[in-house]
Amino acid sequence: MIKNREAFLQTIATQLGRSTPSLTKPERNWKHLPQHEVLKGASADELVEILVEHCANIHTTVKICTQLTLKQTLEEAFATYNNGQIIYSEDARFEQLQIESFIAAQQSFKWDPTQGDMNIEIAERANIGVVISDITLAESATIMLQSSAQRGRTLSFLPENSIAIIPKSSIVPRMTQAAQFLRKQSHVASCVSFITGPSNSADIEMNLVVGVHGPVRMMYIIVEDV
């Protein structure tokens, strides 16, 4: 429901010198588009290098592995965070990366829309959340997640430790390419999260505190999937 729109828009139109509000989509003829020049032409390996380098600035541990060594890398990652309850999204890519059965064999829970609020309860007490990045931004070392019934948004916020698996093929130069991707979708997810490292705050005397409301620790595992 939309309330009070007509009078509100009329006021704006009048201030802008129009007799009635404009209902025609304006042309966007930008003179400057510097965002397309950033990391233009960088190779896949160069993008990985940039991403890895930036992880040092965002308090994030990063591992690189192949599809063959992914299971072992993940096992070590779980151990680093002292194992415990794991929660992960329902995502066909876990199977494609051949780690679905491994994760299922741990003390783990797969996000299940039929279980309602129980998902949130488990996520809240889980030690580790595991997700797979949809698009990864090299420039800022950022993962992008699109929510769905099978991939709850709080899964990557509530657990104290967060692990993001990054297929190498998901890496693009920067947010520009993610924005273009999102615009092409016929239906945008109800929540698209761009996540860059663990949560943090500098609100107390400008001292950085890592781990405020969201995850305290974060790890990226880049998989050479191509």
Binding site: A189, H213, G214
Partner: protein
């Protein structure tokens, strides 16, 4: 808290803050850190081109604001959301308190939002009996400290030290650990986590609304906005009417510029784009979503000589370079909007009665203009305010009026000027010691309170010049 944060007069606020040594050194060191981080974050980019693009996006949106608000509201509604256009602060707070009543809300969690401060939303909700909890760590600290006002747009508790924060936590929330920021933050995390899980309503601001998809984009480092938006069943986002972009493509440009300019990060930890209500089978996310679009004086700025101030994306880069802010701190401005942006915006939204001194709280050095990511000519707008205050409103500060009258009188005739300048030395004699005036009378007092003034010489410069040019010493 409304936009106005103090009943004291400007000069009283100024004296009070100039005496606050901790605040002044905290602000000065914060400015230094913000500036260094920002410089590092933009060094690999062709930043001037980015500024040009940022400016053209914001100008385009303002020129077509009626269309983009129409498109935004259509798309929010198409995704199951409600849109309320509020002409005034009162309309906005009435609408939101009615939702709280309807939901019989007891607990409301909020993420940081300047516009909700501006419309005094928390007070209205609290009067209704709701517990309103600010979840941004800085805002949370201020709220616990009996609603101490924010002193910076991005880091609102900048004026407090960690010992003060420990004392507030000890008194208000049973804190027993040290003043280490990590321990303080950990305690807040534990308390607030339960609040997210049990709140009836979540309220957020809006960094950018995307017209093409009806999305709201939230930018944080703490991740608090995400939990506010994901856990309560009802979500309300409040935005100023100008806070809009056409598509994701412009959103990403402005987000990239905002995070670099505000905190020197390529992106903050969380950039979250929310579209409508939760979808079928979704477990988290709101079942009900309201977008409240607030005018509250903004539309009257459109189409006028101050329109460019609506380009602002609230990064506070101007605050972080301002030499006046460095010395006087945020509270001196008497408004939730401080620094150069506050000195331009507060008089426009709150009127000259309360804020006529702010345009004078500037050296017009232009550092704010140079650093603005969307190229708002801030120092020119401050100058424009002074022009309006003096010429159209006829209310220049009294000292300036007197000075100008005296100057006008003294310089209107050659003989009066000559007489006056010869007299100056004699007139100032009672106040002079060692060729310096340390405690001047009348208008001079404002100067000599802070530093000495050299006393006028007996021999005027013109007389000295005449003597020397007629073959005197070189």
């Amino acid at each position: 808290m409304a936009m106005k944060i103090s009943k004291n007069k400007f000069n009283d606020r100024l004296s009070m803050n100039l005496d606050n040594d901790f605040m002044r050194s905290a602000v000065s060191s914060a400015q230094h850190r913000f500036q260094t981080r920002r410089s590092t974050a933009i060094e690999s980019l062709d930043w001037e081109q980015w500024r040009n693009h940022g400016e053209e996006i914001r100008q385009h949106v303002l020129e077509h604001l009626d269309y983009y608000l129409y498109e935004l509201s259509e798309n929010v509604a198409a995704r199951g959301g409600h849109v309320f256009f509020a002409k005034t602060a009162e309309e906005a707070t009435n609408y939101i308190t009615n939702i709280a009543k309807e939901k019989q809300a007891k607990k409301i969690v909020k993420s940081k939002s300047m516009v909700t401060e501006e419309i005094n939303l928390n007070t209205h909700l609290e009067q209704l009996g709701c517990e309103v909890i600010e979840t941004d760590l800085g805002e949370y600290i201020l709220q616990l400290d009996d609603h101490d006002p924010p002193s910076h747009i991005v880091t609102p508790a900048l004026h407090k030290n960690k010992e003060q924060i420990r004392d507030i936590f000890t008194e208000k929330i049973g804190y027993t650990a040290s003043s280490q920021p990590e321990e303080l933050a950990q305690h807040a995390r534990q308390i607030l986590r339960q609040d997210y899980l049990t709140a009836d309503i979540g309220i957020t601001g809006c960094n950018f609304a995307v017209a093409e998809t009806g999305s709201v984009c939230l930018v944080t480092n703490e991740g608090n906005a995400d939990l506010v938006a994901a856990l309560p069943k009802t979500l309300i986002s409040v935005m100023g009417l100008e806070r809009i972009v056409p598509t994701f493509e412009e959103m990403e440009v402005l987000v990239s510029m905002l995070t670099r300019s505000a905190v020197g990060q390529k992106l903050t930890s969380y950039i979250t784009v929310l579209t409508g209500i939760q979808e079928e089978l979704d477990v988290d996310g709101p079942e009900e979503f309201h977008l409240v679009i607030v005018d509250n004086g903004r539309s009257s700025i459109l189409g006028g000589e101050f329109q460019s101030i609506l380009q602002c994306i609230r990064c506070a880069a101007c605050v972080n370079v301002c030499p006046v802010y460095r010395h006087v701190g945020g509270h001196t401005y008497g408004s939730i909007y401080s620094g150069p942006i506050g000195a331009v915006l507060s008089p426009l939204l709150g009127g000259y009665d309360d804020y006529k001194e702010l345009p004078y709280a500037s050296t017009l050095c232009g550092a704010c203009t140079d650093v603005c990511p969307v190229k708002i000519p801030l120092h020119q707008l401050l100058h424009k305010h002074r022009e309006v205050i003096v010429e159209r409103e006829g209310r220049a500060p009294i000292s300036e009026s007197l000075l100008m009258q005296a100057f006008g009188m003294g310089t209107s005739s050659q003989s009066i000027y000559r007489f006056g300048s010869k007299l100056a030395s004699t007139a100032m004699k009672p106040f002079t010691s060692d060729d310096k005036i340390s405690s001047g009378p009348g208008l001079l007092k404002n100067w000599t309170d802070i530093r000495d003034l050299p006393s006028p010489k007996k021999e005027r410069f013109r007389d000295w010049f005449d003597t020397h040019s007629k073959g005197g010493r070189s």
